[in-house]
């Protein structure tokens, strides 16, 4: 936009320039740039190649610390893996894993075009100068202003009513209680060889209970006290005592 054309990245140069960092407004911008350089259609991205290039470039530009770029990098790596998965037999039912990325890139490219148009409009507009001298406003008689305290207090209440959490409540950090979760799991496993994830969580768990349980499970698994397994993708976790009760 303001910069006329992003320069060629010289992928082999190995130099990380701060200047070049500002050439891109974000990971989508960088991705579009790579596709343009390679003259690739957005709708048919060779994911494996582009993912590798993207990783190399953000490393070279020192962008591999920036969360937005890292998130895109991990997305590309995931896509690369998905493209390698064998496709189900019927072509009809196959959903291109790239579809979402393609949609986002097209949308972003459109935004860039609008931004470019706006830049040209603003540039043209700036050729017209406004009046430079502003006479100080003449001393006017004090306006017939009416204002009273009730009006102001009424306004305060309207504003407070519009705020999501109006009253400042002190935020008490709820510490994770891994010990309690460990105790609960041990008690359950003392009775049975296998328990489910929902059972391990206990009734009406809070978010801290979920995290505490997860940490307890991982720690106990590390110590070899239990095995966590998932019978099939996306099915509930099964927690199994190790060694099993029978062998005890």
């Amino acid at each position: 936009m303001t910069a006329p054309e992003a320069p060629s990245l010289g992928l082999g140069s190995g130099n990380a320039f701060v200047v070049e960092l500002e050439q891109f407004t974000g990971p989508l911008d960088l991705l579009l740039h790579l596709l343009r350089e390679e003259q690739i259609e957005i709708s048919d991205i060779p994911i494996a190649r582009i993912a590798d290039q993207f990783l190399r470039v953000i490393h070279e530009l020192g962008l591999n610390q920036a969360a937005d770029y890292l998130e895109m990098a991990s997305r590309l790596v995931r896509l690369k893996a998905q493209m390698l998965l064998p496709r189900p037999g019927d072509e009809e039912g196959w959903e291109d894993p790239r579809a979402e990325l393609v949609r986002r890139l097209l949308e972003y490219q459109h935004i860039k075009e609008i931004a470019l148009w706006m830049d040209r409009m603003a540039d043209r507009r700036s050729l017209r100068m406004p009046r430079g001298y502003l006479p100080p406003p003449p001393e006017l008689p004090p306006p017939p202003l009416t204002l009273d305290l009730l009006e102001v207090l009424g306004a305060v209440e309207r504003v407070i009513a519009g705020i999501l959490h109006p009253v400042m409540h002190s935020v008490v950090a709820r510490p994770l209680n891994v010990e309690a979760a460990t105790g609960r799991i041990q008690a359950l496993l003392a009775e049975r060889d296998e328990i489910s994830w929902a059972e391990a969580l206990g009734p009406a768990p809070s978010i801290t209970d979920v995290l505490s349980t997860l940490l307890a499970l991982l720690e106990m698994a590390r110590r070899g006290q239990l095995v966590v397994r998932q019978p099939a993708p996306f099915t509930p976790l099964v927690i199994r005592r190790e060694p099993a009760l029978a062998a005890d």
Partner: protein
């Protein structure tokens, strides 16, 4: 020049922002809005016909007197006036999203741009180019942003209706789900798989 045009010229000269027809009408409450409009047009025609160095421009919901674009370089060279500085690419992208999606929340803007961070929004807000126009009903009731009259002034357009339609740009904003040619893709796939 008739008295009303004269008065309007003086008012436009002493304001460095666009004045609406209603504001101009306050100069003389005895005339109608249509008469004010006619007087503005008369002033504009006079400037054009007599070859003035300034012109009447309709923008940002009102009218403003501005210098003619052709004179900009001479004014800058003589250090009489300066062109305003350009916006950064990040600011322009954010404005583009807001202009076409308003009212729009921060999450949607970040999602479209692929970039997170409140810095650009804050800067645009401080510069008066965008403003909070409400709250979404969604979770957390996030703030919704829209563009201001100053944004229209920046681009030199009269109102939002003067923005080009989104589909006038090369690519439609919300393309239908991209259709991937099954054949070419299948071929590519076989290669990758082999």
């Amino acid at each position: 020049m008739n008295p009303l045009s004269q008065l309007i010229e003086a008012a436009l000269f002493s304001a460095a922002r666009p004045l609406t027809l209603e504001e101009l009408n306050d100069l003389d409450p005895d005339v109608s809005l249509a008469e004010v409009r006619a007087a503005v047009d008369q002033l504009r025609e006079h400037y054009d016909f007599d070859g003035h160095g300034v012109e009447v421009v309709e923008l940002g919901g009102g009218f403003q007197i501005l210098t003619r674009p052709a004179l900009a370089s001479a004014l800058e060279r003589a250090r009489v006036a300066q062109r305003s500085s350009r916006l950064t690419a990040a600011m322009l992208e954010t404005l583009a999203v807001i202009a076409y999606r308003q009212p729009v929340g921060r999450a949607e803007i970040e999602d479209i741009r692929g970039v997170s961070g409140a810095g650009v929004l804050r800067t645009l807000q401080e510069r008066g180019l965008i403003e909070v126009v409400g709250r979404s009903e969604g979770m957390g009731r996030p703030l919704l942003y829209g563009t201001t009259p100053l944004f229209l002034e920046l681009l030199g357009i009269a109102d939002l209706g003067n923005l080009p339609r989104a589909d006038e740009f090369a690519i439609a904003l919300q393309p239908p789900t991209p259709t991937v040619s099954p054949d070419s893709d299948a071929a590519a796939y076989v290669e990758a798989d082999a």
